[in-house]
């Protein structure tokens, strides 16, 4: 099996729109945007593809502070990912071409993925009760 080489470079949050515009001009394809909730920031990764080569851009967006510029000006396809960031994580964005304002996903709880990762197995499992007989 081949393990892909996946270069990762860090980009300032304010510069991401320019970065994406440069990628678009270079003929790259937007592959995905993913987000991980850290304790005090969101760790976003923008992936681009050109001729089967992957390039990742990492953005650390603080929870407070200036909203993240949208990349929908260069990649319209970004609107699904960015609305997802807004709905699931509560990342604030500016300049979205198509803003659903939190209505893209219909959720029980607001921004359910915003909490940072916790590793706990639920103590009480609502599973079968071991009662003798039957």
């Amino acid at each position: 099996m081949m393990i892909e080489n996946q270069p990762l470079e860090t980009v300032e949050p304010a510069k991401i729109a320019e970065y994406a515009a440069a990628k678009r001009a270079g003929g790259w394809r937007l592959v995905q945007i993913s987000c991980t909730s850290l304790a005090d920031a969101f760790e976003l990764t923008y992936s681009f593809d050109k001729d089967y080569a992957l390039q990742n851009a990492r953005v650390i967006q603080p929870r407070e502070g200036a909203p993240l510029p949208s990349i929908t000006a260069s990649y319209l396809a970004g609107f699904t990912y960015e609305n997802e960031l807004q709905d699931l994580f509560g990342v604030r964005l500016s300049g979205l071409a198509l803003d659903f304002k939190g209505q893209f996903y219909r959720l029980r709880a607001k921004t359910p993925m915003s909490e940072p990762h916790v590793t706990t197995k639920p103590a009480a499992k609502p599973a079968a009760n071991p009662t003798p007989g039957n």
Partner: protein, 359 residues
């Protein structure tokens, strides 16, 4: 200019077995805009990685979607194996490729049936699904499940295919391939199918790239992009070339998928010829630490599994970007300035898989 009307499409709609909601803005019979809204079947399984350990997540991954289930399990395992630097035995890879190609055949036949139903060709729908049952029988014989295979695990495959079963499988596949021509010829040559699909929902190559289309959508617009060329599993050992059509309309997307059915038959035969006896899995110990973006080609297109391990038995982050999610912007683009009657056909030609999209 007529008055504007908004017609809600879905969530419960006879054309789609799954719920998706579109607000179609109409001017007389013409759709001028479509606004999607998803989330009806959002479960939030990415967050389940906190509660289930890495081995259990393989089963959860398979249940992202019941149609492309095997590739989901395989993609997750590929990502974890890349992080943990696990070397899967050769036979394990070949088995995975055979099952993933079998699931491609079953998915494309299923989709062909749904498309036929979408433009009212009931007979073709029934015939496609009749053939699909034969591939499902083969899947059941080799894996034990019809739609959820449960055959992939971190470190290899959970089952082996015995030689006599393999011989029977190849024989049955050859006969199935012969029978497939009857329905695929209808898709390719029938004038009623062409009337509903030719020139409908055209997407230009540049638009397809800008809007992030993947898989058969992108290939139907003339862009040769197939993640199997990336070299995951043992695809570099097999000879194949991405199938490309140039028109970018519904007919071209149908043609790509129809030709992929036969490509998959060919790939299974190549795998069977190259397979050697040997172990199918390796023992896995330890926990993943690091991150990886695994890219695979599903029946519906490129899929991405991002895993981030922090050295515990639970992943810190598990993210899936499924092909239908990437194909939503092109769908919205295609649904502009078309007739209302073409909406189901266009929606179906992206091969929507909503449970994938919403996870």
């Amino acid at each position: 200019m007529g008055a504007r009307t908004i017609i809600p499409f879905g969530p419960q709609h006879p054309v789609l077995p799954e719920p998706i909601h579109l607000d179609l803005v109409l001017e007389d019979e013409k759709v001028v805009e479509a606004i999607p809204s998803i989330g009806f079947i959002h479960r939030g399984l990415e967050r389940l990685a906190e509660k289930k350990d890495i081995h259990e997540m393989a089963y959860v991954s398979e249940r992202i979607c019941g149609i492309c289930s095997f590739t989901h399990g395989m993609g997750y395992c590929t990502a974890i194996e890349a992080v943990m630097k696990i070397d899967v035995p050769e036979r394990g890879h070949y088995l995975r490729m055979i099952w993933s190609e079998m699931s491609r055949i079953h998915s494309h036949l299923l989709w062909a049936g749904l498309l036929a139903d979408g433009f009212g060709f009931e007979n073709l729908f029934m015939q496609s699904w009749r053939l699909r049952e034969r591939i499902l029988d083969l899947i059941e014989e080799t894996t034990g499940g019809r739609v959820i295979f449960g055959s992939c695990k971190i470190g290899g495959s959970r089952r082996d295919i015995a030689d006599d079963v393999m011989a029977r499988l190849l024989k049955e596949l050859a006969s199935l391939e012969k029978d497939c021509h009857a329905i695929t010829d209808t898709f390719m040559e029938d004038s009623t199918v062409a009337k509903r699909t030719r020139g409908v929902g055209v997407i230009a190559p540049d638009d397809a790239i800008a809007l992030g289309a993947v898989g058969p959508m992108l290939r139907a617009s003339g862009v040769a992009s197939d993640s199997r060329s990336l070299g995951y599993a043992l695809y570099p050992e097999l000879s194949f070339a991405p199938i490309v059509e140039k028109d970018g309309d519904c007919w071209a997307r149908t043609a790509v998928r129809v030709r992929e059915i036969y490509q998959s038959f060919d790939l299974i035969r190549q795998c069977a010829a190259k397979m050697k006896p040997g172990p199918v899995d390796v023992k896995v110990s330890g926990n993943p630490s690091g991150e990886y973006w695994a890219r695979l080609e599903q029946p519906r297109g490129e899929v991405i599994y991002y895993v981030k391990g922090n050295g515990t038995k639970n992943l810190e982050r598990y993210r899936v970007r499924t092909p239908t999610f990437a194909n939503v912007p092109p769908l919205v683009h295609m649904l502009k300035n078309i007739d209302l009657a073409d909406v189901p056909v266009i929606v179906l030609t992206i091969d929507p898989c909503i449970s994938c999209t919403e996870r």
